[in-house]
């Protein structure tokens, strides 16, 4: 089951990519667990998505909490707190 993951702003710069498709491993069914799963790649991932880093996430273009559920076919995005307006 694949999800599309998008990265924006400083996260995008640190990771060197703006999007990817990920096969959701079994057991990864929330924003928080997806973040841990990506963090486990190490290097820039461990740093950009570190526990202490204040990040926001969206599922299917709705701002979501870490506990929000994700499933195959979803569009997930990770980004810093927004600074528009």
């Amino acid at each position: 089951m694949k999800v599309k993951v998008l990265y924006f702003a400083s996260i995008r710069e640190k990771l060197g990519r703006n999007a990817e498709e990920i096969d959701l491993p079994s057991g990864v069914a929330t924003i928080a667990s997806l973040r841990s799963h990506l963090r486990a790649r190490g290097g820039a991932w461990a740093e950009a998505l570190a526990d202490g880093k204040l990040l926001r996430a969206a599922v299917n273009q709705d701002m979501s909490q870490p506990s929000a559920a994700i499933k195959g076919g979803d569009e997930v995005a990770f980004f810093p707190p927004v600074t528009g307006g």
Binding site: L6, A9, A58, M63, F79, P81, V82, T83, G84, G85
Partner: protein
């Protein structure tokens, strides 16, 4: 209702005129955000920006009497004094127009997926979100 995420500049007068036609409208309140002091580039999340602002406007309509509303937010490269964002609300009375306009701006600052990168002397740096913006949104809860 009009929500536009665009690169090009906008004209306040034209936008206000466009939402003032209904004879029941007695008040139009508007806000313009400008670039202050530095050059910057605005990034956004296409799709989510329109959706998030749409949700904010729907909430404003649920809380106040909003007869019409326009939100325009630019993205891309902007210079000092450039216009960034417009919020204009038309209501029968000024209480609703003022409150809805401020509410929409306060929520946009914390919910709309834009990110500013400023050109500073030492190079480009991403602007950090401010606590004061979160507090401004909180007061409407």
């Amino acid at each position: 209702m009009k929500i536009s995420i665009q690169q090009q500049d906008f004209d306040l007068g034209a936008e206000v005129k466009a939402i003032s036609g209904n004879p029941k409208i007695g008040a139009v309140a508007s806000f313009i955000g400008l670039v202050r002091e530095v050059e910057m580039t605005l990034e956004h999340y296409p799709g989510m920006t329109e959706r998030a602002i749409g949700k904010i406007v729907e909430e404003a309509k649920a809380r106040w009497q909003v007869m019409d509303c326009t939100v325009i937010h630019r993205y891309g490269a902007l210079k000092p004094n450039d216009q960034i964002v417009l919020v204009a609300v038309a209501s029968s009375h000024r209480g609703d127009a003022f409150a809805a306009c401020q509410f929409i701006m306060d929520y946009l600052k914390t919910q709309a997926p834009f990110w500013k990168k400023e050109q500073a002397a030492g190079g480009a740096r991403w602007v950090e979100a401010k606590d004061s913006d979160d507090k401004a949104a909180e007061r409407w809860k």
